[in-house]
Symmetry: C2
Subunit: 210 residues, 2 copies
């Protein structure tokens, strides 16, 4: 099972959706899952499921479908979640706190193990067992704990500074919850923007055009 290096974002998103579908089907006791099962759970057409699986070198068995656990393992390996990742959280506001409590990260193999803050009053404390460090300690802590991923949840006017701090600390993947989307990372790093206002706009588009 192999994928081209320049696999488009949409394909990776579908892989994530297939993984969730397979996990649910497995929990429901299914050993074999059809492309229809996977498609129904993930909201993707059965035809595209079959096309993707075939492209990943995972053809199903006619009349049986796919071995759910084995296919999930294969997708985990492609996505790089056949291991656990340590994640830094930059910014300990309301959003940061709710992200620490968000169970979905840990369920998918991502553990927030360090928080970084500029507010000296917070530094030195723990939250849900996770230490809050000073922002300037980021390079040391990330190197010591092999942290390569970060979530940036600071106010918009601090975003660029936070991105640069992450890169200086050796972070290579950033999930950006700020409104600042104009930062261009170096080629060895990637920033993904979570823009929930844009999602709302997609809904208003749907409402006015349907």
């Amino acid at each position: 099972m192999a994928l081209a290096e320049n696999t488009p974002q949409k394909t990776i998103e579908r892989l994530s959706a297939y993984l969730r579908a397979l996990q649910e089907l497995s929990l429901e006791g299914k050993i074999f899952a059809s492309s229809t099962d996977i498609g129904r759970k993930s909201g993707i057409s059965a035809e595209l499921v079959r096309k993707d699986m075939s492209a990943f070198g995972c053809p199903g068995r006619r009349g049986l479908g796919y071995n759910a656990d084995r296919l999930a393992d294969a997708i985990r390996e492609i996505l790089g979640v056949d291991r656990r990742w340590k994640v830094a959280l930059v910014g300990f506001g309301m959003l940061g706190q709710s992200l620490i409590r968000y169970k979905g990260f840990a369920d998918s193999g991502f553990d927030i193990t360090a928080v970084f803050e500029i507010d000296k009053v917070l530094v030195g404390n723990d939250f849900e067992g996770i230490p809050i460090h000073a922002a300037e300690d980021m390079p040391d802590v990330c190197e010591r704990d092999t942290i390569l991923l970060a979530i940036v949840a600071v106010p918009a006017d601090r975003a660029f500074e936070a991105f640069q701090q992450c890169l200086d600390a050796g972070i290579r993947g950033i999930l950006n919850f700020t409104d600042q989307t104009g930062f261009t990372p170096p080629p060895h790093a990637k920033i993904l923007n979570v823009n929930i206002a844009a999602e709302m706009e997609a809904l208003s588009y749907f409402l006015v055009h349907n």
Copy 2:
């Protein structure tokens, strides 16, 4: 300026990105913006910017580019954000509270005006000036206040119940922050899933393949 009814999600996302880019350029004092300006701000190639604008019936003027404010207004109209929308928030947990405080919604024209909760201890209170209603009052409140959009931020095991409550209350667009993605809305309604764990998987994919 017109768009086909079945405009793909990706095009709508680019429209949102163009709108943000144009707003920033306007704040920077630019009256005319080139496709290169817009592309740089939004992380989209100048070529695709030109192609999109032309498809939307908005060709730029050679040597001048696009009138930033006028193009922003045109995009707002397409996206349906040339007006303000009232939004219901279902679920008053940590995530719900931070979403109320998230400035990006209001900046884009979306006002959370009502919160719905099943916890009777919370019902009747206000948070940041927004009333917390009982979940069963949703149909009345949404009809009275003409609320067509909702954000669902309840625990995963309550998600389906919350989706159904929204639909019963006349909601037509749902932004889903739960892990439950298998709910199929009727054709007159749309659910968009904000899956932040899947975004993390896209980052881990990048790390293991680059």
